[in-house]
Amino acid sequence: MVTNGQQDENPAHAAARVKMQAKKVAVFYGEAQALHDVDLDIREHTVTALIGPSGCGKSTFLRCLNRMNDVIDICRVEGRIMLDGEDINTPSLDTVHLRARVGMVFQKPNPFPKTIYDNVAYGPRIHGMTSGKSELDEVVETSLERAGLWKEVRDRLDEPGTGLSGGQQQRLCIARSIAVNPEVILMDEPCSALDPIATARIEELIDELRTNFTIVIVTHSMQQAARVSQRTGFFHLGELVEVGNTDQIFTNPDDQRTQDYITGRFG
């Protein structure tokens, strides 16, 4: 069923190290099972897109990767998820530390109702990553620059982050999550609340960020998956149907359901 371990024709991708690895991950909400035995490798410095119809479990899987499901009382996760070969679900691993290494950008831009500066500085502050104001200033500037927002907000860092446009807010959220210098960034439909121009900016940005970070993106839009990702996984009814190189998934999928989905027969 799971078609992991495809022959990778692109040597650049094949060479990429496996950053995170999911083994037989199953998620239950109370009695209902939302995910069935997902096996997925996430490669370093690669954009992995997770696609599939609504309610197929792709967001649920994404939230397992930095244990955001812990906050939901009735949620139970089985199986193993490894980050650099270390199981992230061992009780000894601190979620605070995990989430500093695996950052997250959410569907709806959710800047804190604080200044732009404070939004970006929050992560470094709570993790005590900087010593002194000038160092923090520098982190804020580089993060905003990497998120492609610096030029637009350099003169109004003390204005509230909620006053920015939707696309700017989302880039602020990206800047906020890269300020803690994570290894992996999880993006849960980061463009679904944005207009096409803002979406294009974010997509460009994702491509740039790939050089420094490993990115997993959940998206509704198959075009977006095709544009930004190198690897794509297709989820359906709580199962990972197929995973492979993006061009292969979109041109020559192995599974009939993938074929039906990408040609628009359902979803």
Binding site: D73, V96, A100, F106, N110, F112, G123, I126, V180
Partner: protein
């Protein structure tokens, strides 16, 4: 088949019922408005005169020998006032008539004279006049609350006193003046001397205790229940009981205060400390419920954002959720305190209904509070306390209006869009 006319008739009926519905709504609002206007109007009409007080001008000519300037307490100030009154109304001989004459002014007129001399000893040896408060009966006469046409035996003011009064009015000795003392003195048996400062101070101290106890406890309880507590049977029971507590009649809290706070812990009776503890118990459920609602209103996306950055649950709450919920929490707290400010029943149980002539200065001094002061005055037989009662109600209402306005202002000012 239902034809066109049938449909049109049904449509008209629907419109008519809509009109009726709106009319009932308007009627209810109009009724509520009229009741409010009548209530406030009657209180203001009855009470506004309490802010003015009839004063009588007394002319003194006191020589330095009559007064020991180094020991003002020893002088018989009352006697000096009486002598002046005798001069003003010559020909009063009988003991009874003299007593009536002396009762024309407030028994505290002697203290006013002492204070005047103490403030300016240069007055000694000169002729000077001093405005002192008239007694409550004369005050009522001036304000038109006594009917002069009644037969003498049914009147509180005799013909003789009326004669003096009319003469003094003719001489320009009677004047209505603003009664600042109403705000600067505590309760008194003499209506003309009674003020609300004692009750105001008592209310203030009591509310301070209430706030200091109920705010931190209430907010911490709400934060724990909302953010940290597991959702199980125990928390359900706690939640149900907090809601029950909010519905417990306040007198029950008074009994609890009497049994536990005073009898068991030995907090002094009638003290703002005891009252504050009791009112804090009463206010707690209000604050907890309002705080939980405010915490719940903080969008989950903010929590997710902070959690996703690696903030610990404690940091998520302290850095983001609590600050964002604070306006709502403060609004709930102010409304809870306003409730406490207007509460009298539980305080009656713990002895804050005592007659106290000194303004309390500490948390363990005997004190009373505004609503209880209103109750005490409303219970007093003197006619002059009627206006005092209404005036005290006005002061209480003014404070409540201010507190509620603050709550509204806070809500407006910190209202956020996410």
């Amino acid at each position: 088949m239902s034809g066109e006319p049938d449909y049109a008739a049904r449509l008209r009926r629907r419109h008519r019922s809509e009109m009726r519905f709106r009319f009932y709504g308007l009627l209810s609002i109009a009724l509520a408005g009229v009741i409010l206007v009548v209530l406030i109007g009657s209180i203001v009409l009855k009470g506004y005169s309490a802010f003015w007080q009839t004063h009588v001008r007394l002319d003194f000519a006191i020589s330095a020998e009559q007064v020991d300037i180094d020991n003002l307490r020893e002088t018989n100030w009352g006697g000096l006032v009486k002598a002046t009154l005798r001069d003003m109304a010559p020909g009063v001989t009988g003991r009874r008539d003299k007593r009536k004459l002396y009762q024309f002014v407030s028994p505290n007129a002697g203290y006013d004279l002492r204070d005047a001399i103490a403030a300016d000893p240069g007055l000694l040896g000169t002729e000077f006049s001093l405005w002192v408060k008239a007694s409550d009966d004369i005050d009522m006469l001036t304000k038109g609350h006594l009917d002069r046409t009644l037969p003498e035996s049914d009147r509180r003011v005799s013909d003789l006193e009326l004669g003096w009064y009319d003469r003094f009015v003719g001489e320009g000795r009677i004047e209505l003046r603003f009664n600042l003392d109403f705000f600067t003195t505590a309760d008194s048996r003499e209506p003309e001397e009674a003020g609300i400062q004692g009750a105001l101070m008592g209310s203030f101290l009591t509310l301070l205790v209430t706030l200091a106890l109920s705010f931190p406890v209430g907010v911490m309880a709400a934060v724990y229940l909302e953010e940290f507590a597991p959702k199980n049977r125990w928390t359900d029971i706690i939640e149900a009981n907090i809601n029950n507590l909010a519905a417990v009649p306040s007198i029950v809290f008074g009994l609890l205060g009497l049994a536990v706070v005073i009898s068991l812990f030995g907090v002094p009776r009638s003290a703002p400390l005891a009252g504050g503890i009791v009112l804090a118990l009463m206010t707690l459920p209000t604050i907890i419920i309002a705080s939980r609602a405010a915490l719940k209103a903080v969008p989950p996306s903010i929590r997710e954002a902070a959690t996703g950055l690696g903030a610990s649950p404690h940091q998520v709450v302290m850095h983001h959720v609590l600050p964002l919920a604070m306006p709502g929490i403060l609004t709930g707290t102010i409304i809870g305190l306003a409730q406490a400010l207007g509460e009298s029943a539980p305080l009656l149980m713990i002895g804050m209904v005592a007659f106290i002539v000194d303004t309390p200065t500490g948390f363990t001094d005997p004190a009373t509070v505004l609503p209880v002061q209103i109750y005490i005055w409303a219970d007093s037989p003197e006619r002059a306390f009627v206006e005092k009662t209404s005036a005290a109600i006005m002061v209480l209402l003014a404070f409540l209006a201010c507190m509620n306005a603050t709550a509204v202002w806070l809500r407006r000012k910190f209202e956020r869009r996410w």
